[in-house]
């Protein structure tokens, strides 16, 4: 069992959504690193460890927007799910698109799940928390996969530079943070075992609304 932080790759071009998603995730109970790339081309470079991303860490979870500059999210999904070294990485599509064609295409291309970004702040917060609780503490994810880009020839020269990364410093005011992040303990099956109280959880959750 790894006692390492959970690695998240956020592929998102909207600065507001990047900020908010990162804030909500960093306030969650599970220690994590969040790397951010802002277009599909960078996402693929990151995953295949090309260029400045040669030292990129393999994500445990990818949060993927669909409407992205250069290479769109569905193309990113197609490329990575074709690669035997990458396809086991969980991809949560997180997008404003409610189009049935996008939803079906994403599942057809083996996205693990599709979440429509709620416009409402509180619901957005619930959705991100839901992702954290479900994928980072409930679901069992692969932990010992081969290094990324295994199928790609190791021809890329190693360049220096590290991906953009959040250090988790809180930017929200403490009051808003308290409101957004009311304390609750989630169940930890122990894969990402940093739980103060393993296996126990109190409080109730409602994903996607109905919270008064």
């Amino acid at each position: 069992m790894p006692s390492r932080p959970f690695e998240i790759l956020l592929v998102e071009d909207s600065p507001g959504d990047i900020w908010l998603t990162r804030e909500i995730l960093m306030q969650g109970p599970i220690p994590k690193n969040i790397s951010v790339v802002t277009d599909g081309e960078q996402a693929l470079d990151y995953l295949f460890q090309r260029g400045k991303f040669s030292g990129a860490r393999r994500p445990d979870l990818i949060l993927l927007d669909l409407n992205l500059p250069r290479v769109n999210g569905l193309q990113v999904l197609t490329q990575m799910k074709k690669d035997s070294g990458l396809r086991a990485i969980t991809v949560v599509v997180l997008t404003t698109s409610e189009a049935r064609s996008d939803i079906n295409a994403a599942y057809d291309l083996n996205a693990n799940c599709y979440i429509v970004k709620p416009v409402d702040l509180e619901q957005f917060t619930q959705a991100i928390r839901g992702i954290e609780e479900f994928w980072m503490s409930m679901a069992v994810l692969p932990t010992t996969l081969p290094p990324m880009g295994a199928e790609e020839a190791q021809a890329e020269p190693k360049a220096s530079g590290t991906p953009a990364e959040s250090n988790g410093s809180g930017l929200l005011g403490s009051k808003l943070r308290r409101r957004l992040m009311s304390p609750r303990l989630v169940r930890y099956p122990g894969r990402y075992a940093h739980s103060p109280v393993p296996g126990r959880r109190v409080g109730s959750r409602r994903f996607g609304g109905a919270r008064s």
Partner: protein
Amino acid sequence: MPQAPIDILLVEDNPGDVFLISEALAMGRVPKRVHVVEDGEDALRYLSKQGKFRDARPPDLILLDLNLPKIDGRQVLEIVKESRDLRHIPIVVLSTSTSERDVVSAYEHHANCYLGKPATLEEFFELVCQVEEYWLQCVALPAL
């Protein structure tokens, strides 16, 4: 979110687990129909509407045990995810095994999610409630 009840195909051979999962799902607030089959062969028959499953409703979500009689859950996963007509259906694997090999293999074969069956009744119930909340309330499921 679709207005119509969500159809869930539960592929599980253990009657106790079937009972528990059905009860926990029924507690959730999303209207749903749970269809139960007890082995991999029936799961595939259900999905391809063969024999007594001629009028079966295509499921919006599949809950799949791995260790099943006749045709193993791993094979069911592979067959469904290789089928053009079926592969969009999200498959949540529920298994007592949390061996890295099973987990990686399931994700490599495009399981949408892998969950370990907890040992205690209370935790198991809670897990299924979380599945209900996440997959039926938070996630947008495919709709054809």
